[in-house]
Symmetry: C2
Subunit: 325 residues, 2 copies
Amino acid sequence: MKELSKLLGYREEIRVVDATMRDGGLVNDFHFSDEFVKALYMTNLKAGVDYMELGYKGSKEMFDVNKFGKWKFTNDEDILKVIGENKDTGMKLAAMADVGRCDYKTDIISRSESPLDLIRVACYIHQIPAAIDMIEDAKRKGYEVSCNIMAISNAQEGDIKVALDMLGQSPVDVIYIVDSFGSLFPEQIARIAHLYGEFAEKYGKQLGMHAHNNQQLAFANTIEAVGDGVNWLDATYNGMGRGAGNCYMEHLLGFLRNPKYNLFPVIRFIENQMAELKKSGAVWGYETQYFFTGLLNQHPRSAIAFTKEGRKDYAQFYTELLGMD
Amino acid sequence: MKELSKLLGYREEIRVVDATMRDGGLVNDFHFSDEFVKALYMTNLKAGVDYMELGYKGSKEMFDVNKFGKWKFTNDEDILKVIGENKDTGMKLAAMADVGRCDYKTDIISRSESPLDLIRVACYIHQIPAAIDMIEDAKRKGYEVSCNIMAISNAQEGDIKVALDMLGQSPVDVIYIVDSFGSLFPEQIARIAHLYGEFAEKYGKQLGMHAHNNQQLAFANTIEAVGDGVNWLDATYNGMGRGAGNCYMEHLLGFLRNPKYNLFPVIRFIENQMAELKKSGAVWGYETQYFFTGLLNQHPRSAIAFTKEGRKDYAQFYTELLGMD
């Protein structure tokens, strides 16, 4: 059982990361209006959010800048134009850089010349060496750096241990537990957090949690991780994120006890901006089809297609998914 | 941490209780068509559900039989007409009897003459003596009997201990942990299950879990309870239940490892019947307003009113709720 003090007290080391524009951007191809972004930024400041992730550092060689909103690329000049320099606010700015989908050597400039503070490297487990090259590059440029190892529910424990040992020896600051498919139960999160914790302790790293809501467990898995010593917590407004979405920011701030966090500005933003976003056609959040892919530990792409096609033949879809196993 | 064997193995003692018609009936005033009820019954049989709760044994003195569907009253003759005798199916039938809202002495007949097997007595903590009178009455008539102590998130631990000790000495078979307001976190469920477990062990009782989904924790709290030794688990199709609803039957059957449980018939029923029910205007499930009442540990009635009025002014509503504290 978790200590009672963890229910009523709080850990100063907790960091809340707003991933709305990054994971949520996967829903609307990053077409957020400047007004939305500015309002979200102001809300995060009021809510006490520690890090705001603005989007991806996507390669302009690989992705058509005319097809995506600007936060697929998160150019420094766009940040400065929409948000400003973000000086002395107490909140830090982040962008995600995917292994193999980012020209990090040229597109990520020195931190001293950028409004960004944190580079979040994302990779699959077989890409750890490439991730470490990106981590070292970002560290040399002065950034805080985290690493998301994605889709670990499909990885072997032996491989995960090797990856954690390699990351431990790298200059990365934070290693994330990522439940990409929303397939993990809290009992498994506890076990994974314990495993990651051994390496975090050995190498002096922080741990993070990034959850998906396929089985309506994103919040539960996130607070399970809190109880297991994980300090960096991803959340998004209204749970906006790919497919079934993520841990809801409002749930997480309602749970955390540090008085620096404020729920009320989040509520106002949900009323004013998120409702509008939904009306404009952005679709995310728990539905039966996402439960299926989560339960079967599969990538949500087939459930996303099911949603887009307006299908409702759940039994047929489930049978198709079983055929993919 | 939970034992690994609890993740991959299973406990024979687990009992799944389908509460769709009872808690879900609060959404549509128990207006389920006979076809729906018959199909649900057949589905539960195929899915391996252990108990099917058909509705309330509501007092016909207090409630107008013309205003509610028949499952507000769950007359034996209606069960026989729609479902039949339910002989030798392996699944048992249940009805809920609320303290103070049920003429149990006359309306609950001897089990040998009724298709019902289980009487679920529901009470608030100050009504335990009345609940015990009902428990003894139902036991004398030959039923299995459970007791739901509602709204314990607002009760004092000292009072709960007294209640558990009284129930322990009664002939009740199962004592339910009930998170009426959907306000409890899994860490609290663990603590409560531990407390209930002391009395269950002392008096040889089983424990049950009935969760609400206000913070999207109904499933998480239910499987937390499983890990804590709770064997009787309430769930509803698509989570249908008052306000934010309950633990989803599909999630629970996806989690449980006993091969007697089958998810597929549940999926087919969701496609064929639950979608139709939603189209007909029945509204339930997680929404922001239910999160507020859950977080603030309040009865969901104000959030239900907010929903019915079609309000979307979340910030104003939250402010109103704070004023009720």
